[in-house]
Symmetry: C2
Subunit: 131 residues, 2 copies
DNA sequence: GCATTCAGATTACAAGTGTAATCGATAGCG
DNA sequence: CGCTATCGATTACACTTGTAATCTGAATGC
């Protein structure tokens, strides 16, 4: 199936640690390696070399683009967050619920992973979709 | 956070291939390695040794239990599917949507990953929850 | 009884990941 | 004009994962 929802095609799978880096750049880009580190290193207990490795790998994977800025690079996402989120969500639903989203919802509901806010919000979305 | 929803504690992370094996045993157990292979080997292009490796790793990880049966083992899940599904779903929601389920739902809706059936079903579940 | 067969156990081995250290060039500081 | 601080690039290295092959011991067929 190569449809429009396959919108991050060509990009290899992004790992967990790499994803953390992507999040930083999705929320603000372009950034240098040091900038990215400022945001995540503390939080994840990483050192700069680690961030640099992850950035390189993401460039290799085609998930990031680089712009020279003096003697360093600035990094920009090449794939959109929504595309990533889309394929990841779909993967999960596929793997765990045979592709059906309702069971996922049921499960979240049952395990009380849905807050009152979530429920209200989902109801609102449903109403909207019915128009 | 060690709460009731942390119900598969102690079990290391189950990989993708391992998960396929778990699914077989969740749908019917106890089974021998050969039995498991009968179900998945064709479908995933695996050979028996592969299944045996995965079974061993799952036993090591504490996800399966063994019962001797003659000179072979029968395998039984030690963790429940719902627990696994729960933690996996939560992981995703956590990672991608800051722990809120509504955005996940919104995303699925937007990407048309929700069938009409899904929507009807979710509506029904919502009604039920309101009681 | 002895060879064949079939179980699990042990070993293999490449790719991907997490987490860096080191190297080689260069841009500024003094 | 040379030294140092910094870049990115290269290399490292252990652990996990996918995917087996081989080994070893016991059961079974003859």
């Amino acid at each position: 199936m190569t449809s429009k929802s396959d919108s991050n095609s060509g990009v290899e799978r992004i790992s967990d640690a790499e994803h953390a880096v992507m999040e930083v750049l999705w929320s603000d880009s372009p950034l240098s390696a040091a900038d990215v580190c400022d945001v995540v290193c503390k939080e994840r207990g990483w050192s700069i070399p680690t961030v640099k490795t992850l950035l390189s790998r993401l460039v290799t994977k085609g998930a990031l683009d680089t712009t020279p800025d003096g003697r360093r690079y600035l990094y920009t996402p090449l794939i959109e967050r929504s595309a990533y989120v889309g394929t990841e969500s779909k993967r999960l639903v596929e793997r765990l619920f045979g592709g059906r989203a309702a069971p996922l919802f049921a499960h979240l509901a049952e395990s009380e992973a849905l807050s009152a806010d979530d429920i209200a919000e989902i109801e609102r979305l449903l109403q909207e979709m019915k128009k």
